[in-house]
């Protein structure tokens, strides 16, 4: 994920401070050896979304591990996983076995206004989590602008800023995330490439050509942009994760803190519900 320039995410200022730090001092880094206390109580980790796009909805189950374990997170199989909207219950099955990825049937779609509850039974414990699916405004227009703020290395694909035109829904408390797909391939499936923001400073406003992401593409490529409505809880988790990982290393990092979770029974991670609107554009020649 990238910091949005909208001050609501506070990252504009943090970024500027970081830059100032760099200017003032030419800070340097080097790897060091440290001894960490032993980690003895692995916990269930949930990462899952249900959207209003008809598709197999995915929930991923893994376990936490020691910080220096150096291995991919252990996956969790043999769990019973369901998502319910209060009326219907959708079962999820692990595909393929051992991957830790659980999917609904292919045609499952949520609808805005419903409260979705995830239930996971694993290792004799039951974990639950709920999130309300909020509506999202459509993307009215899209544009791509060549990014000349950065220095390109030889052979690197050009980068384009993704600009959207939309209107924030009336009422405060709307939170957004955007994801871009170049020729139907997601940029990279990582929080690093997802931009998110809250509507604190543009409540109910017309948003005209605000940058919501960056794509590596060549002229003529199709770029599909998704605009998601996420809950405040999801926003806090995503921001918390970035503050404790990718954004660290500046002079003004917040104190280390465990990222919140919306899963019961001591599990980590987040289960969210989101309404998604898409629009596709073409990178201009």
């Amino acid at each position: 994920m990238k910091p949005l320039k909208l001050p609501s995410s506070s990252k504009a200022v943090s970024k500027a401070l970081l830059l100032m730090g760099v200017l003032a001092l030419t800070s340097c880094t080097e790897r060091i050896e440290t001894e960490l206390a032993e980690y003895t109580t692995p916990k269930l980790v949930v990462e899952g979304w249900i959207t209003d796009q008809p598709q197999p909805q995915r929930v991923r189950l893994t376990m936490s591990a020691g910080y220096m374990s150096g291995q991919a997170a252990p996956t969790v199989s043999d769990a019973q996983v369901t998502i319910s909207d209060g009326q219907q219950t959708f079962p999820l099955t692990e595909q393929p076995l051992g991957s830790g990825n659980y999917y609904t049937a292919a045609d499952v779609a949520g609808s805005p206004g419903n409260l979705y509850t995830l239930t996971v039974v694993s290792g004799g414990k039951t974990y639950t989590s709920s999130d309300l699916m909020r509506p999202v405004a459509p993307i009215e227009d899209l544009a791509f602008e060549y990014d000349d703020d950065i220095e390109y290395e030889d052979g690197e694909l050009p980068r384009y800023k993704v600009l959207v035109w939309t209107q924030d829904l009336a009422g405060p408390g709307d939170h957004y995330r955007w994801t871009s797909f170049v020729n139907d391939v997601p940029e990279i499936d990582s929080l690093k490439n997802i931009w998110f923001v809250e509507d604190l400073l543009f409540e109910g406003a017309d948003v005209n050509g605000v940058q919501v992401g960056t794509v590596r593409a060549t002229p003529g490529d199709n770029v599909r942009v998704q605009q998601w409505s996420i809950s405040a809880g999801a926003f806090d988790v995503m921001k918390g994760i970035m503050e404790q990982t990718e954004w660290r290393g500046g002079l003004f990092d917040p104190p280390p803190a465990n990222v919140p979770s919306n899963i019961s029974n001591g599990a980590l991670g987040f289960f969210g519900a989101a309404s998604v609107k898409e629009r596709t554009g073409v990178i201009p020649y």
């Binding site: 320039k5 909208l6 001050p7 609501s8 504009a12 200022v13 500027a16 401070l17 830059l19 100032m20 730090g21 200017l23 003032a24 340097c28 880094t29 080097e30 060091i32 050896e33 440290t34 032993e38 980690y39 990462e47 893994t62 376990m63 591990a65 910080y67 220096m68 997170a73 703020d149 220095e151 990582s190 929080l191 997802i194 604190l200 400073l201 543009f202 406003a205 017309d206 005209n208 050509g209 605000v210 940058q211 806090d236 995503m238 918390g240 994760i241 503050e243 404790q244 990982t245 660290r248 290393g249 002079l251 003004f252 990092d253 917040p254 104190p255 280390p256 803190a257 919140p260 980590l268």
Partner: protein
């Protein structure tokens, strides 16, 4: 004010009444060459009574004595003393001018400002530093820095490299009352703390109180840094300045009317950003980064009994990069009227203005915005010194301040901008205080000071910093705190004494500072219905001993401090533009204790100081670290500072300093999990681990021009080296994910400086 029904009893005036019926010797003590008041100059009399007094911050002194023949001695550190007979048969006004000693004399003949002041004074836990002493310390980038000099003193901790935050006896950075000519300075840092806002050329004198805080100061828990600007030379026109690696300075002083009034104007501007053009980074190349500041002061003596002062400070930091602009700074103003009612009663009436504000903005068309925030103080203050008799000096006064907090306002800057704007509600608060204290001598060995400060705080009108219960009307409780201030000294011998003190302090303004370093974007917020005033109790005990005819001062002090309603922020707190900031605050108790050792030599060719502090501070805050006690982020067990300066010849002098500190506490991860392609850390207890120890040596060499003796133009070159043995001191440790092997994690340390040399050219004419 009618709510103040405090019986202002002066219980001990009666016992002092015995000494009535004498005459009063009073006056001002000034520097002969510049007309500057000599703060703390000593007046000693021998005769029918043997006693003494030191001049107050305006150079005024008063002594009431039985009639008779005396010898009066006026002295001040680094000045030639004056000793003269005096026949006291009426009230006498005697204004004195002391001349600065020549260098040769300084080494032998000269008495210090009461050589044994540290033994004789009842005040403990306090350090005085003259600007001359500060100039002998090797300075980062050659910029003489008041705050950095204070950081060398025992009991003062720092955070990380280069920061200008001070943590005094386990107190936070917001618990220091930093006064510039009596105006509080809310953010003492330039350029994110690598420099402080005080220009060494405009400063006369700095006094730090870590404990036994006099009743005349209040509003912060842990310390007072009382900085006085120069008054300006009232004898002759005088210019001094310097050209440095990073900044240049220029100061002009002149009489308005000789002997009666003078002014000083001093300015400073950095040009570090000129080097950015050399960077290959496209972003940095077109960046701007600089600060400037300006000090001004004028004073005029109307007559023997009335004198007026006006002083001001204005400083600004500016940063611009890729459409984002930031700027911040302080402005202060002070007007003062000294009035001598009679030889025994001295008064000072002060009007104070102080503001700190910042702005941030972006000029991108689609999301252009401007963000501003400020805090502003307007205060009135009256202080009285009543020299009742030689055994009782009574100080009393009061202060009323109106604080205005504008925590944040954002506006869209163009018609196209999507930013609709937001303004957090402003708050107006009133803080009042009254104090009275007496310093009383009981015989020649025992002196006590006892007093009380009564402070009160209340917010005005309606406010909405937190979400209110609609059922409940907005409540603005009024908080009142009684703050006893006690101190005692017992002289064991002429060269040694023991001292004890107790003080309670209350603080009504709190700083929302989340990160490890303080930034200009930290937010000051007031006490309210939910945020209670912070209150501290401190007990201190000390032993003071001088050696070799007062050439060496030694002291050891122990302290214990408890701070209630200490504030901290919950995990993942959101402090930016948060309308319900108070929801993020958590409360608890903090404790600090320690001992401080110091040896200091202030005269001779070799001067210097060695200090060692052994200390501990921790806190327990509801909802943080599962409600368990944890170390404060500035808890450093061992802290050693050594500074020394040696005058080799008339032209050459060298300086060195060395600091050693236990590594800062940090929180390290124990576990991890994956989410969204990131490896997310799971932390154990807060501040349970430590970074590697910090140590650093700085050196400087000063060479005065050979021609100085024969001309009016005086000049010198100062060469200094910061971090002389290039230690890569850890600034922070971060845990990261390897880019090539995403399952791998590693620890990475950030360090800021290796060796940093600098050159400065100073001149004076």
């Amino acid at each position: 004010m009618s709510r103040w029904t405090i019986p202002l009893i002066l219980p001990l005036l009666c016992s002092g009444a015995l000494a009535q019926g004498g005459f009063t010797l009073s006056g001002n003590i000034k520097d002969k060459a510049t007309g500057e008041d000599l703060i703390g100059a000593l007046v000693q009399v021998t005769g029918p009574t043997t006693t003494g007094v030191s001049a107050n911050t305006y150079g005024f002194y008063s002594l009431t004595l039985p009639p008779g023949d005396y010898t009066v001695r006026y002295s001040f550190m680094g000045y030639t003393r004056i000793e003269q007979p005096l026949k006291l048969d009426r009230d006498i006004r005697q204004d004195i001018q002391l001349a600065e000693a020549t260098n040769e004399l300084k080494a032998v003949e000269v008495t210090s400002r009461g050589k044994d002041k540290n033994i004789a004074d009842v005040q403990m836990s306090s350090n005085h530093m003259s600007i001359e002493t500060m100039k002998t310390i090797p300075a980062f980038m050659g910029e003489v820095d008041v705050i950095k000099a204070l950081q060398m003193l025992p009991g003062v901790q720092t955070m990380g490299e280069g920061g200008s935050g001070m943590y005094v006896r386990g107190g936070g950075v917001d618990q220091n009352l930093i006064l510039l000519d009596e105006a509080p300075v809310y953010n003492a840092a330039h350029l994110l703390g690598f420099f402080s806002v005080f220009n060494g050329d405009a400063i006369k004198d700095v006094q730090l109180y870590k404990g036994g805080i006099p009743a005349s100061y209040g509003g912060r828990l842990s310390s007072v840094v009382d900085i006085r600007m120069k008054d300006g030379n009232n004898q002759k026109f005088n210019v001094e300045g310097g050209l440095g690696t990073i900044a240049s300075r220029l100061t002009v002083q002149a009489p308005i009317v000789k002997d009666k009034g003078s002014f000083i104007v001093s300015g400073r501007r950095t040009y570090a950003d000129q080097f950015l053009g050399l960077s290959n980074d496209k972003g940095l190349k077109h960046s701007k980064l600089y600060f400037y500041d300006m000090n001004m002061k004028a004073n005029y003596t109307l007559n023997e009994n009335n004198r007026v002062f006006a002083s001001g400070y204005f400083g600004r930091d500016v940063f611009k990069n890729q459409g984002i602009g930031l700027d911040w700074g302080n402005a202060t103003g002070t007007v003062r009227w000294n009035h001598v009612f009679n030889a025994k009663l001295f008064a000072n009436i002060t009007g104070i203005y102080s503001t700190f504000n910042y702005g941030a903005g972006s000029d991108d068309r689609a999301d252009a915005f401007e963000w501003t925030s400020s805090i502003r103080d307007v205060s009135g203050k009256a202080d009285f010194n009543y020299y009742f008799n030689p055994n009782n000096t009574i100080k009393f006064g009061g202060q009323i301040s109106v604080h205005t907090f504008a925590p944040g306002k954002v506006t869209g800057e163009s018609d196209e901008s999507a930013v609709t704007g937001l303004e957090l509600p402003r708050t107006h608060s009133v803080e009042e205080a009254f104090y009275i204290s007496n310093e009383q001598r009981f015989g020649s060995r025992f002196t006590a000071t006892y007093g009380v400060r009564i402070s009160a705080f209340e917010n005005l009108g309606t406010r909405g910093v937190f979400e209110e219960d609609p059922e409940q009307p907005d409540a603005n409780p009024r908080y009142v705190n009684w703050e006893p201030r006690l101190g005692a000294k017992y002289a064991l011998t002429e060269m040694s004494s023991i001292k004890a003190s107790y003080n309670r302090t209350a603080q009504y303004l709190h700083l929302a500072s989340n990160g490890n370093s303080s930034t200009p974007f930290d937010i000051w917020f007031p006490t309210s219905e939910r945020v209670k005033p912070e209150v501290a109790d401190q007990y201190a005990l000390g032993y003071f001993r001088n050696f070799s005819n007062n050439r060496y001062e030694f002291s050891v002090e122990g302290y214990y401090k408890e701070m209630r309603n200490a504030v901290d922020f919950k995990d993942n707190a959101n402090l930016f533009l948060n309308e319900s900031l108070e929801d993020e605050v958590r409360f608890g108790t903090a404790w600090a204790y320690g001992s401080e050792f110091m040896v200091r030599k202030q005269e001779g060719k070799l001067t210097g100081m060695l200090s060692y502090t052994l200390s501990h501070s921790d806190r327990r805050i509801d909802g943080i670290n599962d409600g368990k006690k944890y170390r404060s982020k500035y808890d450093k067990t061992h802290n050693v500072s050594l500074m020394a300066s040696y005058k080799l010849t008339k032209l050459w002098s060298v300086g060195a300093s060395w600091v050693y500190q236990t590594g800062s506490p940090i929180t390290m991860p124990i576990g991890r999990y994956e989410y969204g392609g990131q490896i997310v850390p799971i932390y154990s207890e807060r501040n349970a681990e430590r970074m590697p120890d910090y140590h650093r040596m700085d050196l400087s060499v000063t060479k005065a021009s050979r021609k100085n003796e024969t001309r009016r133009w005086q000049s010198e070159w100062v060469f200094s080296v910061y971090n002389a043995y290039a230690r890569k001191n850890t600034y922070s440790i971060n845990f990261r994910q390897d880019k090539d092997e995403p399952n791998k994690t590693f620890a990475e340390k950030t360090y800021l400086f290796s060796i940093v040399p600098s050159i400065t050219y100073n001149f004076k004419f």
